[in-house]
Structures are given as C-alpha cells and as structure tokens.
Subunit: 669 residues, 2 copies
C-alpha cells in the first residue's frame, strides 16, 4: 500500500504553476508563521508539561480549549518535515528537533503520552474515549513520527510513538480485560495503517482493524454500546451531552450509530467521517496490496467494505457536497445535513464546509483510486474540485491567514475573511501538510518485470520518477493548468517496458479532448473517465500531448432538489464567486443579484493583485440584474450590473466589506 | 378587556357555511371521540391519583409522557363547555361533572393541584419550573374553570382553581422568600389575565404581570438567571439539557434568553411564543380597558410592550411564516428557525407548523386587533389565513383524526395523513376549543350612550347581538365565504345610535371591492385595511352588501430570500395543494412537478367526497410539467400533466399514498 504522504518525494514540481506558487508560499512563509502561532499560544511548550493559564478555563465541556494541542504540534511537525525536504530552513529544523525532544520527555514510563491527562486531569486517562480526543492526538503523533523518520532518518520520534502504540494495543481490543472502545474522533485508524505499511507492525494493523470493525457495535461492551457503557461509568446521564449532539445519544455525530458496514448514508461530523473512511479504504487496500515492509492482509469482508465505501462516497458526492467541494452544511455538528440540504451560508440555514473536511475528501478520494478495483475518474474529479476550491480558499495569498468554515456566501453575521489562527487550530496545519505531500496526489504508478503504468489524476508542471523492471522511469507533464487544457507529456526510461498511461478526462470536459499525436485505432481507449494509452501508443510516442476541453466558462447550478435555484460560474476545475472588491455598490451580500444562463461571459487574465507568489488568474465578466424582493414581486427589471467573477479560492485577498457569493439567483430558464 | 372565549356566546352561526359544518362535526363527533381517547389512554381517571402503568416509563427526560395529562383534561373540559351551550349532550355533560369532581378531589390541602407531583414525584413540586409544566397545566385548568363557570353557573371548578392561584401567588413573586420564577411553557399568564378580567382577582393580575416582566431576567434569582439557579439547585450541570435545547442554556427555546421587551426577533418554541405574546397583548389591553368585574390597569411601559409586540409579530409574519399560516420550521424545538428559513417538508430541512402554534397565532392576532391602538387588517388577514389553512387542515372531515405537524409537502419519512390521538395530545382539544369559541373571532363591537360600532374581521353566515345605548343591536352577515366574496349585512336595533361599521378588505383582494348601495362621498373610508361605514351610511342603509374581489385563483410564492422557488395556488383565503388522490401517477411527492405563472386555471365545484357534514369546495385545475432532475439538466420539456389542486385543509381525506405538496417548482418567469 502506498499513499501520498510517502510517495510525494518521487514527484518534483518542475515549473511555474499555481500549485508550485502555493507550495513556495507555504514553505517560505506559512510554516514559520504557524510556528510563531504555536509559540505565541502555548502549544510549542506544552509537552514540557508545565501549567498554562488556559488550563484553568472550564467554560467548555467536554473538550477544553487545549485538548487538541498535541495534534497541533504533531501536524505542524508533519508538514514541516515534508517541506524541509524541499527547501531547508534552519529555524524550522531546530524547532522540529526541540519539539521532538520535548515529546520524548513527556512520555510516561508505561508509554502513555498526552498533554491534558498528564497535566490537567492526570487520573482520568481513557475514561471518555468518546469526547476526549486521546486517540485523535495519538494518531497525529503517529503521522508526525512517520514524516519525521522519513526526513531525519532516525527513530527519535518513532521510538516513543511505537511504545505508545503498544500501550494502546494493550489496553484496547477484543481480549479479556481489554476495553472494546474506538475513538470518538477517528484519525488513529489511518495513522496506524500507515504505520503498518511502513513498519510492518502487526500491533498497529490489528488495532486499526479492531477500531474499524468494532465501531458502532450496539452491544460491544458488556452488552452495551461502548459510549453508553463509559458514560454510565462516568456517572453521567445520557441527557448530559456535548453541544455537538443535537439529541441524546446522537452517536451518528461520530459515525458510531451503527457498524460502518451497515451505515446507509454518510452522517455526522464531516472530518471524522472522512478520516474514518480513509482508514476503511486503507484497510481495503491492504487486502489487495502490501508494501516492502508489510504484507497484504486478507479481509474476508472486503466486498462489504467496498460496497460501504462506494455507498457512503456516492451519498456524499451526489447529495451532500457543495459546488466547491465543501461538505457539511450543519454548524452544530460541523457535518452533514440531510440529503440535498445545501444552503450557501449561515443566514440561509448553514454552510460549514470545513477546510479539514475537504482535505479529508482529498485523502479519501486518493485512497479510493487504489481501493476500488474499478478505476473511476469521479474520485479524481472530486479530489481536484476540493483542491482548487474549498481547500485553496482556506489560505490567503500571502500564506498568513486561514479559514475554518468556507461558506459559499457571506452574510452579516459571517463576512468573508480569514483569521491568523484559531483556538481549535486543526485547519491551518492540515493545509500545510496537504501541500507538503501534494506530489503524491498527482499520479499513481508502478510496474513489473517488463511493464510499467502511470495513472495521471492531476495536471500541472511536474515530473515523477519510479523504478520498474530495473529501470528508472520518468514521466513529466507541462501545462498551464488550471487555466489552460494543454498538457505535454514526456516519458523516459521506459524503452524496454510495456507502458500503459492513463490520463484523466475530467467530467466537466464533457468528453472533449485531443491527443497528439493521434492514436492509431485500438491503441487507446476511454475507460472509467481515463484515456488509456496502451503500450503500442507509448512505445511509438514518448512525447505526446493532451488538450482537455471544457475551459470555456460554464454556468453551474446545484441539484434541483437542493431548492437552491442559483447559477454560478466555473471554468475548468475552478469555481468562481463575486466579491464586493469588484462591486463597490454591493451592500446586501449579492442576495439581490441574478444572472441568466446563456448570457455572454468574457474572460480576462489578471495578475494577482493581492500579494502571493506571482500568481495570476482568469477573471470572468458577465452581466446580471440587481432586483429587490419588491422588484421581483412587481416583475420589475431591476438594475443591470456588470459583474466580475474571481476564483472562489482567491476571495478575501483584497480587503473590502467581506461580501461574497458563489451562486447568484437564477433569473433564466 | 373582552376576549373570544367570553364573547363568542353573543354570536350565532346562522346558516350553512364551512365553519358551521366544522362546528357541527366537532360538536356531534369530535368531542365524544376525544372523550373516548381520554378514557382509553388514562387521562380521564388521572385526577383519581391512582398509579398508571405509563408512570413507570422513564424513557423521556425531563418531560415524561403523562406530564401534560392535566392540560389534556382541562382543554377538553373547556371545549366541551363551549359546545354544550350550542348543542346539549348528556354524555358530555356527565363526563364534565365527573371530571370536575375528580379534579376537586385531587387538590392538596394547601391548594396545590398537579397529577405528576401528586403521584409520581410527590417531593419535587416546583423544583423544575423550566421543564415540568406545572404552571402550564395550571393555566389550562384556569381556562377550564372559566369556561365551566360560564356554562354551569356554579363555582365547582372555580373554587379549587382560585385556591390554586392563591397557592402559586404565595410562592412566586418579587417578595422576600418568594421565587422569582416564570413558567418554561407560558400559558398561565394569559389564563390569569382572563381570570382577572372575569373575577377582578388582583392576585391573578399581579402574578401574570410578574411572570411577564420577570421573564428572561439574567440576574433575577440571587444574581443568576432563574433557570440557571434552579438547575444548580437540582445538582445538574448545564450540559444536562432537554433534547429540545440544541445547545446548553438555549433559553431562547422558551423565550427566556432576554426580557421580552428586549427580544429583537421571535425565537424558539412556537406555541410558547404565541401563548406568551397573547398574554403580553392582554397586559397591554388591560392598560386601556378593563371589564365589568375588573378595572383597567395602568402600565407605564405600555409603549414598549406595543413596540415589542409589533416587532415580534412583524418578524414572525414577514420572515418566519409559511404561506399556510404555519409557523415553526424546526422540529427539534418545535419552533422558529432563522429568518426566511421555510422549507416545505422534513426532507428539505424541516416544516413543523404545529396546529397549536397556528391556533396561538389566531389568539395573538385577535388580541392585537384590540391591543394595538391602530386597527390593522393585517392581523385579521393572518388570523383568517391560519383558520382556513394550517388550523383547519389539522382535523379530518369526519372529525375523528388530527395532525400535530402540518408540513407543506409530504416525503417518504412523513407522508400526509392524520392520527386518532397523540401521546402529547395538545393539538386535538386545541382545535376543539378554538372552534367552540370561534364566534368570538368574527368581530369586535361595542358602544356608548348614543353610539355603537362593529369591526367585522371574518365573513361567514352569522349574527351578533350586543347592548349599546340601552338597545340590543344586531348585525347579521350572509355569505358563501370562503368560496364567494358577496356578503350581505343587516343592521338591527341601532336606529337611535350613531353606528360605525368597519369591514375588512383582505390584502389578497388588492383593493377590489364593491359596496352596495354605493356610499355618498365622505360617508365611508378605507382605513388600515378596513372599509369604514360612517354613521351617515349606516343610518341610511340598514341593509347593505359588500362584494370582495380576489376570488380568482392566484399563484402565490414565498419570499425570494427563502430560496424556495416555488409556486402554489390560492383563492380567497384558501391555500391549495396537490394530492396523489387526484394524480395516480405520482410517486415522488410532486418534487418533479413544475407550474408556470400565467397558465390558465379553471375552477370546479366539488361536493366533498370524503365524508364530513355536506361540505363542498372549489377545486382548481391547471397544467404542469413533470421533469426529472435529468430532464432539467438536459433542458427537456418533460411530461405535460393535468393538475388538480384542492384546499390544503382538505388534504388526506380520501386515502391514497399520502403524497402532497403546496408549492410546486416554479418553471416560469
């Protein structure tokens, strides 16, 4: 089993591109800015196990403000290690070393390792698995350790983490005297399976599999649901519940209302759901492939896991995903609403669309590209949609400000903007570590004795190198994606191999593409959203290019059952929005502005005027009509308005009043 | 201060009408059917204070299943007493007498009177004012006593109730040693003010006013919000909260998040809000007028109460009310969502539209017609809207089945239908008592030494008699409302009086009306939605008629900010829907059917084919287009469908699959 956090090193971002520009910004600015935040807010020193004034704050139950600090540090280490390999930074290097030393020093003799239960409530470890994020923090520490050892080539972090895994493995599981628990916030499952694929640790595999298979068991612990059981042990009535639980026993909040295999729809906290299903996809992957260190693991229920993953993915993508790749309409549980409930903003009923959740969609999509035996371009389409929209909008062009929620429309109570940091700072370092390992998302590849294959999912300027049949195969791509559809490929080192290359044809291209040189009959085929170039083609053409169509601006609309009768604009994988920075007259968050399908849309190249790393973008111009509710009632024509659309990811970089909207009123037929 | 539950006896429903037919059904069938339910389910005997097996059920906290039983009995008594005056029924009479004897027997020596805290938790009375409905039950007992004494002319129920009021007055208030509490579920306030207006009991007035003025005080009890204070006394953390509280301290659920005068918008449980504001309107009324038994009560803050009532009413009517007069989108708290959040059904995000809530809107509207010094026809428009739509839809034509929620569209999880009874049976007897006192809603009237006035709010076949200037004045109206707009009036007994009559011109008539005989210049005027016939006109014309326009079918649409781009049909005050009983091909709850504004609509008189008391109705026929989401995406025309619309109140009387919708997709411009 491979995954992008391991394989990204085989890919180099070679030329100017939007993705490279963002990676540079993160590498040169964001990593340090986030380190400054960790230092300023207390996280940096937390593994020293001293008292921090924030620990006195009892205003939040069950999760106090500092409960995720372990993971904040871990995710920063993970991201830092990815970028250190790319651009060395002495200050970042020193910080990682110091943090690792502090983490080592914070471990208990028995292997336990957690800030809150070491400092604030030392007697209460493992008494509230549902809420207290011990395993979530442990999972991120595991991921940090894997990134650390990959860059530093030592075991300074792996060693304590291995010990911590053993501690957890001892405590939890199906054996006598073990607790049949599973984490309230999934994350450790995917971390353990990554750990297994790198180290071959059977403990890690068994523990992850137990967590995945036991989850939602209604009678797991002494005939009770585990969360009921531990709640009673804490002496809490079921009516005492977190604010994220709208009702008592809202265990769907953490996907524990039923065993995963029995869940008909995707529910609850969106990040938890994505991390959980990513691990489920890894479990399925491991039933087919192992790694150099870890054998494949048989899984009798593999068909059921595949069916569950496809079912939950489809429910999410078809009925619970925004045009921007955002998921999770509901603020209270930071997660999924009912089918087709996709209001654009808080004043319409919700739109959480958390940054981390779309990072999670990308992780899950990338895993499903391997786990599903049928290669399906829709996974990669959604992965790209999230990348260029809901994920990229989460960071300012200067790399110093971030979002947590990414609604498609602003309102008075929630203007469009970004923050330097959050008390629950999960999102900023998640963007960092995603961009750090982004090379691993571009393509899959492999080979055997006399063959090689590459499935190209994302287009940019990049090159990958991998070994196949004793040779070093290279494939490079050059393009001005996401602005233009021409991608030039060059295959190298594969002269002695039968090489198959699959190129994704995005669904929004609607089948429009041109391959050059043209293929002889029978040497290529369109399969599952990919153009397969067979060995005959690649042998004849080491240099070839793909022109993907669909870069004309297009009007996009949500599903009619959403009740959102709106039109937005998209171009290629980029979804657009309007902002008051381009429309000084706007004062009502574009609620009164309508557009008509079929109206001419003009493109305009703009150099980025809000800072950043020399990034430009294509703006779109069309006309709309501002009509008040009274105008609409009277059938009045309203005021004709020249409209400028900018990429949704670009919003909130130019000041203004924070007024923004993706989907405008649909005034046409 | 008058109110409809007192004044209704002055009105007689004289001829065939939809309202009279419903009253007959209730009188002859519903009262007995509900009595049977009370007998079958345990409520009938509950005041005997024996143990009922349901008391063992601890599955619900804080409100166990039987917590409202006192009020179920009380509301039935109230409704029964209203109808006994109209049509005597020996069995109903005997049941009222027996129930009153049992209630008397259940009272404690100190005046306390409540089933739950007498039988189930005898030590815990008044320890959870927020949740335990003691005062709510007391309020309904007060209303029952007022109805009882009015019909029976004895004090058998008034006597224990007066004692109970004294008990409560002793315990609660601003004095030393008193608790500064106010009920979680308002109701007692309006009951106490009614009690005051009938008896002149200063205790009742002071207690109601204290409850209204104290509500939402953040530091009322020992510097704490009362509900925080009593929660701490119960040893409960704030995190232990009812399922109706989405978050901890969601005191807006019961309108206790801020003092009433400071509340900017209407929030929370819709029935509670309506009962509370009805009492607030009564408080304001009493600052202007008293009654024969009770003097007017000065209220320095009267302008603030008026401003608050207007503000909260407008927020509700303009931004939080369905086309049917339903209020409350949110099921979890049975109440208001954010502004303009008005999905049509559970599968679109909610639509609770509780029957009791619209009964409450009618009560509030009727009170505001007096309390607001500016007579405003919009209050009566909304009162009529609720009556003919959200309220009337709550009972089957045969008078034996009821609804609690009244969504505008069915879905798989919630088909359109009715039930014989509910475990929380507030709605059925609320409809009963409303129809019992309906005469009081038709008009206001009064007079002085040499003048008389009548404000006519609702049209039907009816006659009112009242004393003015020593004469008995009568005004009769004859019409086929709500199907036709011609209303013939005859004024009698007013020969020696200067008589002013105001006739409501509904907003949907858009100013179209004809008065016959025509008025001489200056003798009539249109003011605040009413056509005022001055003394010169009424002196010249004791017989006159009004023809109200607006009975042509009209397309109606919700506010554009709702995001609900739908069209429905209405005619006069009646809102229509489509049902699968008329459209055997329908299988998707009319989600795929669109209509176009401007399409011809044909009227068709139908005799009611689902039972009932000989009621007929006007059906509407037009054409629509069934288009799947795929059709819409491809721009396909879809399948042309002949559509039949029936009154929303008429739905679910003819079997079928329970598929129904008010607002269809708006396919036009």
């Amino acid at each position: 089993m491979s995954n992008p956090q391991i394989t990204f090193r085989q890919t180099t971002f070679t030329g100017p591109s939007l993705l490279l520009a963002r990676r540079r910004t993160i590498s040169r600015t964001t990593i340090r800015a986030q380190l400054d935040q960790l230092r300023a807010n207390g996280q940096y020193d937390c593994f020293k196990l001293g008292w921090h004034p924030i620990y006195d704050d009892k205003s939040r139950w069950p999760a106090p403000l500092h409960l995720f600090w372990d993971s904040d540090v871990a995710k920063w280490i993970e991201g830092a290690c990815y970028f250190l390999a790319d651009e060395y930074d002495v200050e970042v290097d020193a910080a990682v070393r110091e943090l690792v030393a502090m983490i080592r020093g914070a471990q208990h003799a028995d292997g336990y390792l957690n800030i809150h239960f070491s400092v604030v409530e030392p007697g209460k470890r493992w008494t509230n698995i549902r809420d207290m994020h011990e395993m979530y923090n442990a999972g991120h520490l595991i991921e940090a350790a894997l990134a650390h050892t990959q860059y530093y080539r030592n075991d300074l972090l792996m060693e304590p983490i291995e010990k911590y895994i053993a501690h957890i493995r001892h405590r939890f599981g199906p054996g006598d005297g073990q607790l049949r628990a599973y984490p309230g916030h999934p994350e450790i499952e995917l971390a353990l399976l990554r750990f297994y694929s790198v180290t071959g640790s059977r403990d890690a595999y068994d523990l992850a599999r137990f967590f995945l298979e036991e989850r939602g068991n209604p009678t797991g612990q002494d005939g009770q649901h585990f969360y009921d059981w531990e709640m009673e042990r804490r002496g809490e009535p079921r009516w005492k519940r977190p604010n994220s639980f709208p009702m008592d026993r809202s265990y769907w909040y953490c996907q524990a209302h039923a065993p995963i295999l029995d869940q008909p729809t995707i529910e609850g906290h969106a990040v938890r759901a994505m991390y959980l299903l990513t691990a489920a996809a890894d479990l399925l992957n491991l039933s087919r492939t192992g790694s150099a260190s870890a054998p494949a693991q048989p899984l009798a229920a593999a068909p059921d896991w595949l069916a569950a993953l496809r079912r939950l993915w489809s429910n999410m993508v078809d009925k619970k995903m925004y045009l921007t790749g955002g998921i999770g309409a509901m603020a209270q549980w930071e997660g999924f609403g009912i089918d087709y409930f996709l209001p654009q903003g808080a004043d319409e009923g919700g739109c959480y669309a958390e940054t981390c959740a779309s990072v999670g969609v990308m992780m899950l999509a990338e895993r499903l590209l391997h786990a599903d035996p049928e290669l399906d371009g829709r996974y990669a389409d959604v992965m790209e949609l999230c990348l260029y929209n809901n994920v990229m909008t989460a960071m300012s062009l200067d790399g110093r400000a971030f979002t947590y929620e990414n609604p498609l429309a602003s309102c008075e109570g929630a203007p469009s903007g970004r923050e330097d940091w959050f008390w629950c700072a999960c999102c900023p370092p998640n963007v960092t570590r995603l961009f750090g390992s982004l090379g691993g998302y571009l393509w899959d590849y492999g080979g055997g004795e006399d063959e090689a294959w590459v499935n190209v999912h994302l287009y940019t300027n990049a090159e990958v190198k991998f070994a196949a049949g004793g040779a070093e195969v290279t494939l490079s791509q050059k393009s001005n994606w996401p602005w233009e559809g021409n991608v030039q490929f060059e295959l190298g080192g594969a002269e002695a191999l039968e090489t198959t290359i699959r190129l994704r044809i995005p669904a929004w291209a609607e089948g429009a593409f041109v391959l050059t040189p043209a293929a002889a009959p029978g040497t290529t085929a369109l399969e599952g959203g990919y153009l397969r170039l067979g060995a005959a083609y690649t042998a004849a053409h080491a240099v070839f290019s793909l022109d993907v169509g669909g870069f004309a601006p297009r009007f996009v609309a949500p599903h009619p059952y959403t009740g959102q009768r709106t039109l937005g604009l998209a171009r290629g994988p980029v979804v657009y929005c309007v902002e008051d920075a381009d429309h000084g007259w706007e004062g009502n968050h574009f609620k009164d502005v309508g557009v008509r399908r079929g109206e001419a849309v003009r493109e305009e190249w703009r150099s980025a005027d809000g800072g950043g790393d020399g990034e430009g973008y294509v703006a779109l111009r069309t006309v709309g009509w501002e009509r008040s509710p009274e105008d609409l009632q009277r059938g009045g024509e309203g005021v004709r308005r020249e409209l400028v659309f900018v990429p949704f990811y670009f919003r909130a970089n130019r000041g203004g009043k924070g007024q923004m909207r993706v989907g405008l009123r649909d005034d046409g037929r």
